[in-house]
């Protein structure tokens, strides 16, 4: 089983609040990703990183930011949460064979 962790697992928060979703991994993988997924729907890439100090925006426009100061840590921050941000956020890493390992996800509800 992959060692990738996400916290919190569930979060209900009011509009306008600033939140940070945590993602950490113990596998030493350089590549990390954040996806947004509505239940049963496709995955949308919102941010990715090739390693420390590397961050790129994904295919889905998002009002979020990420940082990669350490290999094992890739937090996602929403400066001002909106109801449209209600979704599941999945963090993933990729090994040298391009196999992706997903964390359990954070289910975010913005009221």
């Amino acid at each position: 089983e992959a060692d990738i962790y996400q916290t919190p697992r569930y979060l209900v928060i009011g509009t306008g609040k600033k939140i940070t979703l945590e993602c950490s991994q113990t596998m030493g993988h350089d590549k990390m990703y954040w996806y947004q997924q509505d239940p049963g729907m496709e995955l949308h890439l919102i941010h990715y990183s090739y390693g420390v100090n590397s961050t790129e925006k994904g295919d889905l426009s998002s009002e979020s930011t990420v940082s990669r100061i350490r290999t094992e840590h890739f937090p996602l921050t929403l400066e001002s949460a909106r109801p449209s941000h209600t979704s599941q956020y999945l963090c993933a890493t990729k090994d040298r064979a391009n196999e992706q390992y997903f964390g359990p996800g954070t289910r975010l509800t913005v009221t």
């Binding site: 729907m41 994904g58 999945l90 391009n98 992706q100 997903f102």
Partner: protein, 110 residues
């Protein structure tokens, strides 16, 4: 950008029936991956195919990569209730990103 289309979007089968999902691209893919996501869970890697015409098997699951490397299929023989979930195909770009298909959601009636 390059996309992969999956069909069908939903499939309902009786336990014991076979199931197939297809992944199609308008352009040649360097690789194709398959993932399974159980209801309420996260995607789990199943397999990667890279060679033209490649066929791989995992117990009751058979994966194929087309000769032209533009399509792929996942076939499950004699479905079981444990097979329920959404199956996604995905490919890796040269830039290191992964693009996922829309997924096929399988439900199995016991």
């Amino acid at each position: 950008g390059q996309q992969v289309m999956q069909i069908p979007q939903y499939q309902h089968v009786q336990e014991g029936e076979d199931f197939t999902t297809y992944c199609n691209s308008s352009t040649t893919l360097s690789n194709i991956q398959w993932y399974k996501q159980r209801p309420g869970g996260h995607p789990v890697f199943l397999i990667q195919l890279v060679k033209s015409g490649e066929v791989k098997k995992q117990k009751r699951l058979t994966f194929q990569f087309g000769e032209a490397k533009k399509n792929s299929s996942l076939h499950i023989t004699a479905t079981q209730t444990t097979d329920v979930g959404t199956y996604f195909c995905a490919y890796n770009t040269n830039a290191g990103k992964s693009t996922f298909g829309d997924g096929t959601t399988l439900t199995v009636k016991p």
